[in-house]
Subunit: 370 residues, 2 copies
């Protein structure tokens, strides 16, 4: 099976790339990192802002700050990933020193956004699940804003969370999730600000500044061919995919994702781990393609679709855990717990749907390639 | 679209059938009805047994009684359905008199079995949803009988409900459903016994006894062609199918079935009604084929698959309602309500899966037919 995946976006195709191309890529990413950092500092987003969730310079400035943090994470992930894939070409001591620091940074910066996105996903789902049209003969309660027709699907799928459309249990569940995830998000925000003001971060930023001008390659690296290393990254991806239960995933409504739905374990579902692993390896493969082919080469759309499916898988998996976690809050009403149970199962359903979508795009890649 | 469905199992094919064939079919069904009734009486299942759920003659006798009740329902449905489809060939007064009585009878007799099957379906689902393998580092609690491997799917799919495998919430939810559905089943059993001992039932049985020897056809019926009437039944089915959202149903993981998952309405989901209607019309079409082609002609397997998908749709729909209903029990623990929420969503997922299965077999019928 690993053999069949070699005709994915093929990093061995095209003109020869050597360590020089890697150095150029790393310099470019380091420059983007420094630009994003400057942008972030200009918004006053540094440690001075304390633990408050609001930015100093108003909404426009907050948006710039969010973009700057995203750009920081983006470059940090790409630098770290490339150092990993092309390890033999880089001075080991330097390379092994900076990688965990970049991972710490992008992990710390990712949390605030993740909690916000998780809350939005869960509130949208609660709204969708409550999108009940009034039944003929029943008076339209506070919930019945979806119109008189059960087939009025658009009304049942509002684009933004709308609390007015929720039942009591769903509204209480939404309020509980809002409290818990907003608190987590505020904490993550303050942790991120503290991290960006820490001496640990300044040490990372200094190392990245060095990288922007001078990439610490090994003596033979500038003329070393990159493709075998890119190929190895692709093979690690293909091997990890062979571990996935793709036959099951490709069979719609296999009901596997909810198997642990009533498990007593509050931790994320163990069955999700190999999918998360493939998500990370797919990202490394993508970055390796960027290094070898240059950023301007458009990425295979099927590879993008597979990656999006795995992002959705991760988001739904974490959202389902958040719903299960909220249901463990002491002294909640049974109606709240019931809504959280429905919500948890709905997100596990999404997990299963994402696996199906991944299987479909992966199959297309291996079958449809010329 | 209705045009395309005419090449289903075609009631206009084969040798000519007239009212004589209908008379033969009805006599046969009436004879089976009377045989089942005799069998039921021999088990002592009549009203003398009072309201107890147990049969007088022990387990073997109980099994015979269950079979007899099933055979009674089976014949009652076929007689009633044929009287409906071939209405113009039968003496209207007689025919209109017996049909509602047969519907009352098969409806009353169906409930006991339905409650039992619903409980079994829900307990199996709870067990499947709790089939958690112990996570490494966590002691195996009372739940961890599924073995150390998360991939050990067989262990997570036991063939029969196993209470030892459930979490606290799932176990409490199971006990609650058991209490509620067993009570409903016991009541349905006693209602069925009372019905079978009632003068209303004796009047039906007398009419069926007449039917076994002499079918009240209209004067011209014996030489009237049956096929146009069978064809009309098939067209009613095809028309009802065109109302179904088959494009959505054929797209896996469309998440439509759970749209009303948190609806405040305890009644069954209104979106299920057109599917239930198709289920009834498919049954009428099947009986019409039996009349025209004889019982010995094997039924189109794709039509059987479509019918099974709709049975599963009905069962999952009713099971999901039972879980939602149980969650409204006053003073239940949040963990119980949570488990019932997960269970409700799981059964709505089953509803969606059944629609997908129906869409697939229906498409095969209309595309694959010669």
């Amino acid at each position: 099976m690993a053999q069949r995946h070699h005709d994915l976006t093929d990093p061995t195709a095209g003109p020869v790339s050597t360590g020089d191309a890697l150095a150029g890529y790393l310099r470019g990413q380091a420059t983007e990192f420094l630009r994003a950092l400057r942008q972030h500092r200009e918004t006053g987003g540094a440690v001075s802002n304390g633990s408050s969730g609001a930015s100093a310079g108003g909404p426009a400035s907050a948006e710039v700050r969010v973009d700057a943090v995203r750009a920081l994470r983006r470059s940090a992930r790409r630098i770290s990933g490339s150092l990993h894939t092309f390890r033999p070409l880089l001075e080991p001591e330097w390379s092994e020193g900076i990688r965990p620091e970049l991972a710490w940074l992008s992990g710390t910066l990712a949390l605030e956004h993740a909690y916000g996105a998780r809350l939005e996903r869960l509130l949208l789902a609660l709204n969708r699940l409550s999108g009940a049209a009034p039944v003929p003969g029943q008076p339209a309660g506070p919930v019945g804003s979806a119109g008189p027709h059960a087939d009025d699907r658009t009304a049942a799928h509002p684009a933004t969370p709308d609390r007015g459309n929720l039942t009591v249990g769903a509204a209480k569940a939404g309020a509980l999730l809002d409290r818990q995830l907003t608190l987590a998000r505020t904490r993550a925000h303050s942790t991120a600000l503290q991290a960006l003001g820490s001496s640990r971060f300044h040490a990372v930023a200094d190392k990245v500044a060095v990288l922007a001008s001078e990439v610490p390659l090994t003596p033979t690296a500038p003329v070393t061919e990159l493709r075998p290393l890119a190929k190895a990254a692709e093979e690690r991806l293909a091997d990890a995919v062979t571990v996935l239960p793709l036959v099951t995933a490709g069979s719609p409504y296999n009901a596997e994702a909810l198997i642990h739905g009533l498990s007593p374990d509050p931790a994320p579902h163990p069955q999700d781990a190999p999918w998360h692993q493939v998500r990370l390896l797919l990202r490394l493969h993508r970055y390796a393609c960027e290094v070898v082919h240059g950023r301007s080469t458009p990425l295979d759309v099927r590879l993008l679709a597979a990656g999006e499916a795995l992002d959705r898988h991760r988001d739904a998996s974490e959202a389902s855990s958040a719903a299960a976690q909220a249901a463990r809050t002491p002294r909640i009403a049974p109606a709240t717990a019931y809504a959280l149970g429905v919500l948890h199962a709905d997100q596990r359903h999404e997990v299963e749907a994402a696996r199906y979508a991944f299987q479909r795009s992966w199959q297309k890649q291996t079958i449809g390639a010329p």
